[in-house]
Symmetry: C2
Subunit: 255 residues, 2 copies
């Protein structure tokens, strides 16, 4: 096994670059950390470019099927390349998955994300879409990068299952209208209570920024806007919780 002992090794610098969105976009690569994320990547036949494992860590058996050779690193090198304060002993460089033809009919719902800022919220939304299956996530301008380490962690492996695209929401709204797929906006108090709506075989849902909600310019172009009733005292619900309630309601069939 190859081995890196010095934090000055040029490879270390190269990996650390991937903590930056710009570098991820340029290279098409991102980092995953920990056994669970790597297991999901392997199961999903993700393209794993390189693996770095901390010395003395036991090599998990499930990884024997990975053809990628691993490099052993010291504790201090692992600390340097990991994004967490307590590193998970294993870091892998992965290629950002590409999904084509998401508009060709294999998917039944589309979540349009308008400026979600919190990585945990975005990751959790992607995880919920994965739980429902056959969904696509479209990230509009101003949304946190899906390959940010905190998002990756919160998705719990779902990034390898769900198409996540960075595209113009305006163009998507046009396409939805052309194809007669109903598009629902979300609002704190305008529109229809979600519970009045029947489950939908095909739909799109716009989820908005944590503070400001969905931009008015998008709300004006939806088929209908939905709100979640808040009979109690909280001003609003968490964005990922709202998405979960709405998506499970809209997808609900006789499970």
């Amino acid at each position: 096994m190859k081995r890196i002992e010095s934090t000055k090794n040029p490879k270390v610098k190269e990996i650390k670059k991937l903590h930056k969105r710009k570098e991820r976009e340029k290279s098409g690569l991102f980092l995953i950390e920990g056994d669970h994320a790597l297991t999901e990547a392997v199961r999903s036949q993700a393209w794993i470019e390189e693996i770095f494992i901390e010395e003395h860590k036991e090599w998990p058996q499930v990884f024997n099927e990975i053809p990628t050779p691993a490099t052993e690193v010291t504790e201090s090198v692992m600390k340097e390349i990991s994004s967490t304060e307590t590193p998970k002993n294993i870091v892998a460089v992965c290629r950002i998955p590409e999904f084509s033809n998401v508009k060709s009919g294999g998917y039944s719902f589309f979540v349009l994300v308008d400026s979600i800022q919190d990585p945990g919220n975005l990751g959790t939304i992607i995880r919920t879409v994965d739980a429902l299956g056959k969904g696509v996530v479209v990230l509009g301008t101003g949304t946190v990068d899906a390959y940010n380490e905190k998002v990756v962690r919160a998705t719990q492996g779902s990034l390898f299952h769900v198409p996540v695209l960075q595209e113009d929401l305006g163009e998507w709204l046009e396409w939805l209208q052309e194809t007669d797929i109903p598009c629902f906006g979300t609002s704190l108090d305008e529109g229809t209570s979600y519970s009045a709506l029947e489950p939908q075989p095909y739909f799109a849902l716009i989820i908005g920024n944590e503070g400001a909600g969905v931009q008015k310019k998008w709300l004006e172009r939806t088929d209908q806007n939905l709100y979640i009733p808040i009979p109690g005292q909280a001003e609003s619900l968490n964005a990922a919780v709202s998405a979960g309630i709405l998506l499970y309601h809209l997808k609900q069939t006789d499970w």
Copy 2:
């Protein structure tokens, strides 16, 4: 206005103690940070013991109604007493709210929390309970402290509205049975799909640990256990999202 310039000031040490659970429990005090949290505390008539504000920060007008005198502190003192990397310029010491008679009939649902570890998840669950109104949260052994700063932040002020108790879940299950309030456990795959269940005027719901779920010893003592169908590839849903879907389904009336 009083003023603290040195991080060595004994007051600074006293405040910092409240970052520890043990000290919060001993003193009955906890910290809140930022304008939003303080505004919610004031609106909820919370007992605010002391306020510390960073020099040069504008005093928000809404706080004029607070009788508590504020102490001005330097930037370095604020950094020392704040729990966040980018302090929010205002920190207040609050008394942990006490709620009595939660079993006397004014509340319609009870969320029993079994070993939730992630502060963001617990805070978000408390926020969802507050959104629905008339709910109580009971924290079983092994659950993160509700007055941990990260929980406080995620509740977005709801800690002042919702009774949050640290009590024995076993005793609660006994009480629920005696009073004929139906108690639902949650499981990944055992029991009934939640969507088959009608909304309930009164109920209790047990939410489990992020990895291990609800302990078997509790699942055996419920009236019914519920699962949320996962037709897609994700292994599970986020705990706060699950709680949101279930609570909104169970409370759903003709809003």
